[in-house]
């Protein structure tokens, strides 16, 4: 119980720090939002007027407090560019990025973990060297390249997918699955390669441990030692990597969203920064911070679940 109280207060403190940093960093950015909205040829009078309307003439501290107070009441402010409540703009974009991220994470786990085990099992054989080379490529090639190649393969060569228009889940489930699959796969490929290499290394490290020798001396087969003893120990550090990967994809990928013309958070972030849409940018960064914190918390919980040594300390 003390543990959760502690976690929760750390959660709060981190969020306040993050919000302060985002708010004041954006104050330092050059460019006046009112000017940008009205265009460069607007006269001073109009700009003043709009600034007043948007509350931009108040001191920074006051605006920060207004913003935070709003956030606590569920009011994230209004987007300067879209002239809509920020929450509405985000509500449109978050499901897109989140479903891509979930699909990418599922692909990473479902493909990465079995292949990691396979590579570790074949360690020392030719096939393992070959697989290692492939994973090395997977890590070093950027995801947008996979995006282009997948588009080429599926639309130009195979002619399976004809357009890359975004289809939402409520419109057409299979259409949505199709439009989500390739971007998720492009994001997942390098993550899969990372998980494979990481898991292989942790398995090989764990194999040298004394408890493995004990298990062998009980008469267990190599397979039983791997699945019954080594794997659980080897997966513990992989959880951390998975947490990092998931948090990263949940924030949206600017490049992949552009390649596949997806209306997600990544492209929104870029647009709102260039148009100095501060209320929107602030809320997005805050959202990403919350995601990272929630993921870290989940990773902690998983650790406690799987590792009895940590469970004890709680």
């Amino acid at each position: 119980m003390r543990y959760y109280l502690y976690k929760f207060s750390m959660f709060g403190i981190t969020l306040v720090m993050v919000s302060l940093i985002i708010f004041f960093v954006f104050q330092l950015l050059p460019g006046n939002p009112a000017q940008i909205i009205l265009g460069l040829d607007a006269d001073e009078q109009q700009v003043r007027h709009l600034e007043q309307e948007l509350g931009l003439d108040k001191p920074a501290i006051e605006r920060y407090i207004d913003w935070i107070a709003g956030v606590f009441q569920g009011d994230l402010g209004e987007s300067l560019r879209y002239q809509l409540p920020v929450s509405e703009v985000l509500a449109d974009r978050i499901p897109v990025t989140t479903s891509i991220a979930i699909l990418a994470t599922v692909l990473t786990v479902v493909i990465g973990i079995p292949l990691g085990i396979l590579i570790a099992r074949t360690d020392g054989k030719i096939i393992s060297v070959f697989l290692s080379m492939i994973t090395q490529l997977g890590i070093s090639i950027p995801s947008f390249w996979f995006g282009f190649m997948l588009i080429l393969l599926f639309s130009v060569t195979l002619n399976w997918v004809t357009s890359f228009e975004y289809v939402s889940w409520s419109d057409d489930f299979f259409g949505a699955l199709r439009s989500h699959f390739l971007p998720s796969l492009s994001i997942a490929i390098s993550n899969i390669a990372i998980v494979i290499r990481y898991l292989r290394n942790t398995i090989l490290d764990q194999r040298k441990m004394d408890y493995v020798r004990t298990a062998t001396c009980k008469g267990l087969s190599e397979r039983a030692v791997l699945y019954g003893h080594v794997l659980k120990n080897a997966l513990i550090p992989v959880i951390t990597i998975m947490g990092l990967i998931t948090a990263d994809t949940l924030g949206g990928s600017i490049i992949i969203e552009n390649v596949f013309a997806l209306p997600g958070l990544g492209s929104l972030l870029i647009q709102s920064i260039t148009s100095r849409d501060f209320p929107l940018v602030q809320s997005m960064v805050l959202y990403i911070a919350v995601i990272v914190l929630v993921i870290n918390f989940t990773v902690d919980l998983l650790y406690k679940l799987i590792d009895p040594r940590i469970r004890q300390k709680g």
Binding site: Y211, T214, C217, K218, G219, H229, D307
Partner: protein, 326 residues
């Protein structure tokens, strides 16, 4: 009576980047049913390697070059991995030195002990648990029911070592190998564990190969002792005989370094010099550079083995009879 385990002229070599090195040379000994045999020698003498060769768990860079190990009359040299699995943990079991690391940190104690029965018997889950709890009580683990669900980090070193002993004992093995089972423990716990081995010896019809660098510990539990030095057996015999009438100068030094109440207050004797490393071993007797009785032939040839009454043997040039001349 036929021996349970026979090791005959065993050579084990390491394949290292610098070349091939013999780590064990011409190791021969027998273990009879119900007998407790000790192996003693300083660090690096090849005690663990001998036990690994018997269990078939030599490190990847080591292999048997020559000789034979047979268990219950059947050679272990070319067992299939399936046959090894049948044997290990069942008729042939092992206890390791490191109680901190030799148990799996993420599995419960109960599961780790019961696993042996799961592998080697057809008992039901409930029967397995009953058997485990019985064995846990037998090895002096109190409140076995509660410990069943505990994890290794919740136990003290002594208790973990009792868990290892329970794992090795539960299948009623023919031969248990214990590699320095008390070395990592503090003195009071050490003597409790030695007492436990005494009890096991009385209550079970199992043979025991007990490895230690401490002749005092060996004296407490063993019937027969093998003294090893730099990969060779230099002396072997009945424990009382070997301690009262040690032949080999190395055995004499080991005896001098046993801590003993009558010598309290004096500085403990330590043998000057160290065991030569694997790569530095040369022809001749490896102990010769530390030996106060060194003869000139000690540097050029390894001595033959000379036998005294009651199977007491020694490999030392001091015991060469006239006319043996080499």
């Amino acid at each position: 009576m036929a021996p349970l385990l026979s090791v005959q002229a065993l050579d084990v070599a390491f394949q290292l980047p610098e070349g091939e090195f013999l780590a064990l040379e011409n190791i021969s000994f027998h273990i009879y049913p119900n007998e407790v045999v000790g192996i003693v020698g300083e660090s690096g003498c090849g005690k663990s390697l001998t036990s690994q060769a018997i269990m078939g768990i030599l490190p990847g860079v080591a292999s048997i070059k020559h000789g034979n190990i047979s268990f219950q009359g059947c050679s272990l040299n070319d067992l299939s991995s399936r046959e090894w699995q049948e044997l290990r943990g069942n008729e042939l079991t092992m206890i390791f030195q490191e109680p901190m690391t030799s148990l799996n940190p993420v599995l419960t104690i109960g599961r780790q002990i019961a696993e042996v029965l799961k592998k080697h018997t057809s008992l039901s889950k409930i029967e397995r648990k009953q058997q485990v709890i019985k064995t846990m009580n037998e090895v002096g683990l109190p409140r076995a029911e509660a410990l069943w669900k505990a994890y290794p980090h919740q136990l003290s070193g002594g208790m973990r070592q009792r868990v290892s002993i329970a794992m090795a004992l539960i299948s009623r093995p023919k031969l248990m190998i214990a590699d320095e089972p008390t070395t990592a423990l503090d003195v009071t716990i050490q003597s409790q564990i030695l007492d436990l081995f005494q009890t096991i010896k009385q209550n079970h019809s199992t043979s025991l190969l007990f490895i230690s660098h401490d002749l005092g510990v060996i004296q407490a539990v063993c019937d027969q002792v093998i003294v090893m030095y730099a990969g060779r057996i230099v002396e072997q015999g009945k424990v009382e005989k070997l301690i009262s009438e040690p032949k080999h100068p190395y055995t004499q030094s080991l005896i001098q370094s046993i801590p003993d109440a009558t010598k309290r207050g004096q500085r403990l004797y330590t043998i000057p010099g160290t065991v030569p490393h694997l790569q530095e071993r040369q022809v001749g007797c490896p102990f010769s550079n530390r030996c106060t009785y060194k003869l000139k032939q000690c540097e050029t040839s390894f001595p033959d083995t000379y036998e005294f009454d009651d199977g007491h043997t020694v490999a030392c040039h001091l015991f060469a009879k006239e006319g043996d001349g080499n």
